[in-house]
Symmetry: C2
């Protein structure tokens, strides 16, 4: 049992590392680590199950710092508990280019960082995915292998962000009782007292969403410990409202927004040293305190070794390790190849959302770790297959999540599931509402993880729901996100290939944009190669000579491109069609392949029921673009495509106008 004095000195180690690192960087947020040092010390020294020497131990407890600006809290803990890559030099180099100690915690930059946080509320919503992932894996592999808690620390900002409501209501609904949230209730936001903008009774709010919630003194270690103990025995997720003082110890800035997001200054830090009786220089931790922290970091070694023993003896060892590693089943490519052969034979004329369901039926049969879901558009997104029954609080052993009308919370939960490991999560909504999910989709890209987003109703082709629901700019906007594979397949064959690519892209999230309307089979021959893997490829060659026209199109407009080609060929103009399912994968091809695919035809034209932005890389700034220049309209699809001039005839006419001019 740690004495109060020792606890205080251990907590103060966090405080001084944090204030000194921020001071040296001349940038950062000292207030949270100073206020939450007691919470963190209690959690990391008495409760958290982790092993710094084996940081990827699959059954470790997860700790998520949703208030990512308080990154020095996490870096301090990683250093103090003995993560090998978190050296004191890294702490000294806080926020410097190339250091592991980035401004906000970044997944993959240093071990022990479970998720990238900073954009507020994301960690809270990730934590729902982590906690759900634990329950799913527990159901699959039992208590012996999977039995851990998910802890998340958040601030007022996280709780004001709307995504937090989506997260907590989903967690409450799913009764994720191994999820424990600490709210750093310091009553300070950047602009001043929280009461400038908010008077929410957060405890009552969480209770309304099915959580246990209570207030504690967040600077009293025994009160914190008692609350965590109680949470461990809860049947619901638990929120612990921890009353803290931001920047605790800073003589004049503590308890004010001046302690939030800037260095405290030499004078305040000197005052804090006096206040805490801390006489070590910056970045030096007294040996006994560092020893005590390192000992806390060794607490997990024995339980981990015991867990390794259980794993070694388990008959599920191979499958567990495969899933945690993120490898697909060995027969995955064969299964897809067989399915592609079937498609070549069947030539289905279906919407790509339906093609996606058909592909998923095959995939979910072969890959037991996929977890599907939708933001209340299951029947429209076609995300549910025969294998995926509903996950409920009474049965976590299933594979489908009704995320509710919570696109943002869903995307962040999918990130959490993915980061937890052992599962491959996908979820659906309408492409237009990718806007709601976008902050979480961006973080998936920044983290480089295999989150998969299924976005149906991908153009004016959805018809009568009108411009509020019709994506126009969304394709360009999603292609804009770095490290994000945006797929827009043209038929069932391409949809199967895009799904194959999405599942194999372990370092890149994917979005599949899918139609509501039926599309004919365009790829009717079996080809072993995944043609979509090149991003763009010649689907139909020019006939009767060198191509004078190249048509580029994606998704539902490839059919129109082929129609335009038929008209142009009919008029004696050799015309080729290039299908472009993914800009990103095309960008990764060799210059030679790219040049050959773009070709040298005198007239280049792109067709997509969205805006032009981004297509100039195929057609040049003088190319012809057939698509949208503004918002859509409400009406039947049969009326809309002609209304907006997105037809084979309009495309052929525009091309012939250009050929004539030349």
């Amino acid at each position: 049992m740690t004495s109060r004095e020792q606890h205080d000195r251990m907590a103060n180690a966090i405080r001084f590392l944090s204030m000194d690192a921020v001071e040296k960087a001349n940038s950062g947020h000292p207030g949270l680590p100073m206020g939450c040092a007691d919470i963190a010390t209690v959690l990391f020294t008495r409760f958290l199950k982790f092993d710094p020497k084996n940081p990827h131990w699959a059954d470790r407890d997860r700790f998520i710092l949703s208030a990512g600006h308080g990154s020095m809290l996490l870096y301090s803990l990683l250093y103090l508990t003995g993560y090998e890559d978190m050296t004191i030099d890294q702490i000294r180099n806080f926020r410097q280019l190339g250091s592991k100690t980035a401004g906000h915690p970044e997944y993959g930059h240093a071990t022990g960082i479970e998720t990238t946080t900073g954009p507020l509320g994301q960690g809270v919503a990730n934590s729902v995915g982590f906690a759900l992932g634990e329950r799913i894996m527990n159901a699959a592999f039992g208590d012996d292998l999977v039995d851990h808690f998910t802890y998340v620390l958040c601030g007022d900002g996280c709780l004001m962000e709307g995504i937090s409501q989506e997260a907590i209501s989903l967690a409450g609904h799913l009764k994720l009782n191994k999820l424990i949230l600490f709210w750093d209730n310091n009553n300070i936001s950047i602009d001043g007292p929280v009461t400038l903008a908010d008077n929410t009774d957060q405890v009552a709010r969480f209770q309304a969403s099915g959580w246990n919630a209570s207030h504690v003194d967040g600077m009293d270690p025994e009160a914190i410990a008692y609350a965590i103990e109680a949470a461990h025995h809860s049947q619901k997720p638990t929120m612990i409202a921890c009353k803290t003082t931001i920047g605790f110890g800073a003589p004049t800035k503590a308890g004010t927004n001046k302690a939030h997001g800037s260095p405290l200054g030499a004078e305040e830090i000197a005052g804090a040293r006096k206040f805490f009786g801390w006489d070590s220089p910056p970045f030096e931790i007294p040996a006994d305190i560092l020893d005590a922290w390192r000992e806390a970091g060794r607490r997990g070694a024995q339980p981990r070794a015991a867990w390794e023993g259980r794993l070694a003896k388990s008959d599920k060892k191979t499958e567990f390790e495969r899933r945690v590693k993120g490898d697909l089943p060995g027969n995955f490519d064969t299964v897809i190849a067989d399915y592609k052969k079937k498609l070549a034979a069947d030539k289905p004329k279906v919407a790509t959302r339906k093609s996606s369901e058909m592909a998923l039926e095959v995939i979910n049969g072969a890959v037991p770790e996929t977890i599907g879901g939708s933001a209340d558009l299951t029947g429209s997104n076609n995300t549910k297959t025969s294998q995926t029954k509903n996950i409920t609080p009474d049965d976590y052993g299933q594979r489908y999540v009704h995320y509710g009308i919570r696109e943002h919370g869903m995307a962040a939960a999918i990130n959490g599931l993915t980061l937890h490991g052992g599962v491959i999560a996908y979820g659906g909504t309408f492409l237009c509402f990718s806007d709601y999910a976008r902050p979480a989709m961006r973080l998936a890209s920044l983290m480089g993880i295999r989150s998969i987003f299924v976005m149906t109703h991908d153009s004016i082709g959805l018809g009568e729901d009108g411009p509020t629901h019709q994506p126009v700019e969304h394709m360009a906007a999603l292609r804009a996100i770095p490290n994000h594979n945006f797929f827009r397949p043209a038929d069932a064959m391409e949809t199967a290939e895009c799904w194959q690519l999405a599942l194999k892209s372990t370092g890149t999230p994917s979005t599949l944009a899918l139609t509501r309307q039926n599309l004919p089979a365009l790829r009717t021959e079996y080809v072993a190669e995944n043609l979509c893997s090149k991003g763009a490829y010649e689907l139909a060659a020019a006939e009767g000579g060198e191509a004078v026209v190249s048509i580029f199109a994606s998704g539902s407009e490839v059919e129109i491109a082929l129609g335009a080609r038929a008209l142009l060929q009919g008029h004696g103009h050799p015309t080729r069609v290039v299908s472009v399912p993914s800009f990103e994968l095309f960008d990764e091809q060799s210059d030679a392949y790219r040049e050959k695919t773009i070709g040298k035809a005198g007239v280049k034209i792109a067709i997509e029921a969205g805006i032009r932005q981004g297509w100039d890389q195929f057609i040049g700034s003088d190319g012809i673009f057939i698509g949208m220049t503004g918002f859509g309209a409400s009406g039947p699809i049969e009326a809309l495509y002609p209304h907006f001039g997105i037809t084979a005839e309009a495309a052929a006419k525009a091309v012939e106008g250009r050929l004539h001019k030349k």
Copy 2:
């Protein structure tokens, strides 16, 4: 007093118009109008202050259908109460191309539609802006001219969306007691029972956010009326949880998700006719019922006339009318011209966020209707000026809103304020967090309204906060939204001009992207013309001959472009620089102006600390781009620009490599 029988028949008129219109369109959502017909009938016949013959009456009550998929409820009401443009033919043409009866209610398509809804939660969040707008205008013009309620009807989806939490906690904080929300508590979402995904105690949740909230039978007219009466006397906003049956009257589909979003089918409709004893054919309303509805629509004529009388006598008439019309004060352009002269003299070297604050100091002094705010980044966004003190529940006569950490709710509230009229609202956050606000920003564009978004920290130039906070793709993503002016000014002069344009763009929302870091004055001569109004213009001409190099840049990179030009000129390459503050305004220029501005230099290069997407229209697909290809990094700005190769030297070198090759 309406008899219960008459009430029922009036409500049934809504039900049959709705189910018959959806049936004829073979598309739409009959369930909500059928379930909420009683609520709507009570509200529109007994409470709502409105005048269909004068639909823009400034002091009308506002009714917002946040559950926009129930659009037939609204269209039915508009037709029944006698809005002239909402004819029975429009109802017959529900969801057809060119009709006023779009799939979801669209602001501007038909009178009486206060805001565009459909993307869930937006109407709830708009309503906070409407209700706040009312209080602000009331404080400015008194009860005689401004004294109305804002009613909003929402469904489960609106309340599951996170934005609803941002909205209700803000409304509760601001004690907007003239805001009354009806929750269509039908326990059905698209996937099935709401309990598939949610078990929130919504009444408790609203109470936790400072609202009155209670349950009523949403199909009992007297209970509804009683609840509205009570709400009228509340000191807090009121939520009325109305228990309803979705698709009420449909024999087998009522109370199920089958009544939500598809035509009921002839059999169900025949059954409903029998159930309600309604024997009129589709689109025919019994004369006595139509008369009763039209009479309800005439209730507001007298109060409106009385209000007109008060306005005519008011000494504030001219100012009130100017503000409601959205006109700027007559001296606005002079004030800006004077300020530009001062800038030409002062040549301030400041961040454009500071330039924005300086411009706002001038604007807020001249334009009393501006309402500023920030999502808890006031000191970072520089959105507060000497004229804008905090709006509080005790003082709505001020001009600054601390929106809290609620970017999405802020943007939607700004839309509501703008739609309410009489105010010009702007609000700030970091550009990276435009992602959080994006669904509301898109709707501002779709509606064509003057919402203004101030987005600072607009690139890697923000430094140490790192890639979670550094926009890379956001400029492209915002330029992608149709009818959205995205401004990225290069110095204080351009910032003033961009603000002038934003305020004058009454039909287009604006986003200003502004730097954290200081920038030199580049435009140091006073020019009467607003050069930014052309979107792009030659800032520095080539010297010593025809330009062989054209450099295009925006914002903070214009300084770098000028540096590159100096290097290239020094090496004997005549080089010009074009500043590009707005792609959108450039697109609107004549072909001649565009061609001249792009020019014929052999080497074209663009410099922007973001991705290339969109720049090909200036430089062609073979142009040189100096910018970002992936996410940023955490470090001091001085390290980041060289690290990512965004320097004058790198640009000049790339150009010379190309010149050499030619």
